[in-house]
């Protein structure tokens, strides 16, 4: 399976190169993908917990903002 590509536009020569990632770049890419996935999951968990707390308190999100 081919790796994701990177575009490089050299403005001195106006040459545009699309090439596959190197090993190092691919390792960084995979690590970042894992970070994004973890962050999205953490934000979803936080949103669920927030909604549950608001329901428990019996107030809306707008009312909760007045407390901050």
């Amino acid at each position: 399976m081919s790796r994701p590509t990177i575009r490089i536009h050299n403005t001195k020569t106006n040459e545009i190169i699309d090439r596959e990632m190197t090993n190092v770049e691919f390792d960084i890419y995979e690590a970042r993908q894992a970070e994004v996935t973890a962050r999205v999951e953490a934000e979803a968990t936080k949103a669920t917990a927030k909604a549950a707390l608001l329901a428990q308190l019996g107030i809306t999100e707008e009312q909760a903002r007045l407390l901050s």
């Binding site: 994701p4 575009r7 970070e35 994004v36």
Partner: protein, 187 residues
């Protein structure tokens, strides 16, 4: 930005670095007078996981970069705007829907936390070619998050005086699916 003014006798231009001179001929970038104004250096369609613009001319005082409809393939992506690998001390305000965020960070500037709506905005990079002045950037972007429409304002500084000749838009683990980045040199 250069300013044109009438001094009571003739028109003159105050360049971004404070130098005052006669205005140049329109369309020739001031070749018969003070060299002032904006010059389009490159237009690039975003592609891949990142797109780099390299070999940027060092003949200007500042860089002005526009980002139009930068889109990507997945959700929850934090877009970075790498300025020649330099680390900037950044102060940033964002509004996502009705939620406000204030952050301070060191590292690569971040331009958006986009969900799918496409990113629009601009970035100023000041004194990018100077050998003696520190680097400073300022940006304003518009995008869409899971919390709603969003906007970001940020400024950052680095004490590095390394000449900047490359910038990179990085979708940070996602794949870009279109958009245009234009780089202007500003006298």
């Amino acid at each position: 930005m250069p300013v044109k003014r009438y001094n009571g006798t003739a028109w003159e231009v105050i360049a971004g670095d404070g130098v005052v001179g006669a205005p140049g001929t329109p369309g020739t970038n001031g070749t018969n007078g003070i060299d002032a104004g904006m010059t389009l250096l490159s237009t690039t369609t975003l592609s891949g996981t990142s797109t780099a613009i390299t070999g940027i001319s060092q003949a200007y005082n500042h860089l002005f970069v526009t980002i139009e409809n930068a889109a990507h393939s997945t959700t929850g992506v934090y877009w970075n705007f790498d300025i020649d690998g330099l680390s900037f001390r950044t102060f940033q305000n964002s509004v996502h829907g009705t939620t406000k965020y204030e952050t301070q960070a060191s590292g690569t500037p971040s331009i958006a936390q986009d969900e799918a709506g496409g990113i629009y905005g601009y970035v100023w990079i000041y004194n990018y070619a100077s050998a003696s002045r520190i680097r400073h950037y300022a940006l304003n972007t518009r995008y869409t998050t899971s919390e709603g429409s969003a906007a970001r304002w940020a400024t950052g500084t680095t004490t590095s005086t390394t000449a900047i000749d490359a910038i990179t838009i990085d979708a940070n683990g996602s794949t870009m699916s279109g958009g245009t980045i234009r780089v202007y040199g500003v006298k």
